[in-house]
């Protein structure tokens, strides 16, 4: 077999290998893309058929957390899950509030709706002045008091 043909075949083989890689990357990308928080989320989820877990009826604008007291007006986007606490690893770190537990509460989004859950904090989590005893759904305008900090759900 002439060497030239073997060289061509070798590059064909390597090309096929990279084609395989490209297809894996495409499959991974398709799995990841519905997760991106964008207005296209709802359409994306329906198109790729991610199932009921993430489908929402209205193309909902993502919920956010707004810091009201102290009135820094800082905004925290609500991803799939945010943790609130004094620990530096929390998505909403409240290092200066000594009434906040290390891991105080968490908010997660299921089916486009946010829920809040107290993580066994010492001083409790208050939703509109009521102390949380179980996981509760959140709505726009709800106020969460954690330690001495107050956060509002905005959209």
């Amino acid at each position: 077999m002439p060497e030239a043909i073997l060289t061509i075949l070798k590059f064909c083989f390597l090309g096929l290998l990279y084609l395989f890689l490209a297809r894996v990357v495409r499959a991974v990308y398709r799995e990841l893309s519905p997760d991106r928080p964008a207005p296209a989320t709802a359409n994306g989820a329906a198109r790729f058929g991610r199932g009921g877990g993430r489908r929402s009826d209205q193309p909902a604008r993502p919920f956010k957390l707004k810091m009201i007291d102290p009135a820094t007006a800082q905004i925290f986007p609500l991803g799939e899950e945010v943790t609130i606490g004094r620990a530096p690893g929390c998505s909403v770190p409240l290092a200066d509030d000594t009434y906040v537990s290390q891991l105080h509460a968490r908010i997660y989004v299921r089916d486009g709706k946010p829920f809040v859950e107290d993580l066994g904090s010492t001083n409790g989590t208050f939703l509109n002045k009521d102390r949380l005893s179980k996981t509760m759904p959140l709505h726009r305008g709800d106020k969460l008091q954690i330690g001495q900090t107050v956060l509002e759900i905005v959209q």
Binding site: L16, L17, V28, G52, G89, R110, E117
Partner: protein, 452 residues
Amino acid sequence: MKMPTMSGAGPAAAARRSTELGLVILAVILAAGGYVLTALAKGATLPADLAPFAAGAAGLALAAHVAVRRFAPRADGTLLGLAVVLNGIGFVVIARLDHNLARYQTLWTAVGVAAFVATLAAVKRIRDLERYRYTFALLGIGSLLIPAVPGIGQEINGARLWVHLGPLNFQPGEAAKVTLVIFLAAYLVEKRELLSTPTWRVGPVMLPDPKHFAPLLLAWGSSILVMVREKDLGSSLLFFAVFLAMLYMATARVSYVGIGAAMFAVGATLAYHAFGHVRERVTTWVNPWPTAQGHSFQLVQALFAFGSGGFAGTGLGLGSPGKIPNAATDFVFAAIGEELGLLGTTAVLLLYLLLIGVGFRIALRADQPFLKLLAAGLTTILGVQTFIILGGVTRLIPLTGITMPFVSYGGSSLLANFVILALLLRISDEVARRSDAGELHLPPPTDTGTAR
């Protein structure tokens, strides 16, 4: 071929399965193509056993695919394809080096696929594994101890890690990898909070209560001790790294990594002074050239192989990777480097990168701490093992013999890797089943202690 139906698994699952089927078919075509290329380079004819080879490869790969459709329809669609293509490339290189070994590798691949199917069929819920944590710990430590038993244990290349039973040779340490990670995941999830709250003061550092820590140290210490006794450096490094990684992932405490690194430094220094073969590995790593005909012959031959491969390699069947001792097992990456060049080795690295990335993504998406930690631990095994052997062969770190997952010749290793693959797919399927069903009224259990 009629595929088993997936009752109500949903369009997402169907899409993942057709992705998987496409990748698996492409992987088989790649393996068959490589096999043909090797034969063409040696003579001008197609290999005589092409038909049985292609049929066998396609049969095994499709059997695995059908098993996933049947038992884990919602699982990730890329893992199996990645494993099949790595396995296929490995087989082509092994067949090119030694036809005898290739025959055994065929057999071992069949056993591996059988174990893959059996694991998927037997482990219906991952949580069931959690209940048998101490059984798994005992199994792991037991299988590490077996090779030391006189009569059954056998020493090959200076390391006593084989068990000889009739015509079969196997390394029980490979099974221990999987069972010890299952134990660690279950134990760490249970004791996570206790381990991440330091209450015991030693000088300036706070450590967790030794009471909760002792079983871990015991499991870890005995595995390391056994490994050192059996002179298997690669595996002890692997165990140590996986142990440390899982401890960190469970507790999110950097101090464990610091303490672990210090322990590793002490251990490595002691091993360097105590064992001749460790010293030899370090000297050949620092400068292999003075002993190029002696101790570092293997490493130097591997470096020459990479060098003569160049950018695109000599072509399959056209190099001379046979000059490297153990080219089919630990040094298979050098053989790939010689015949497929930088392009081929980069592709292999990318395959591993994707495999490990997908594994960690399964861990990130998992909604229960045990699933999360188990998926991350199993993926860490694959990742660290790949790093140790590829780093060793390319002289990035001192060489410690360990197999290249899915690629190297080696039955026990292939078997263990297929079981790891099956467990990862099972976890992925379980998580997808819950999130697809949209159990929004049952909030997932909190797993706030897990590092993310």
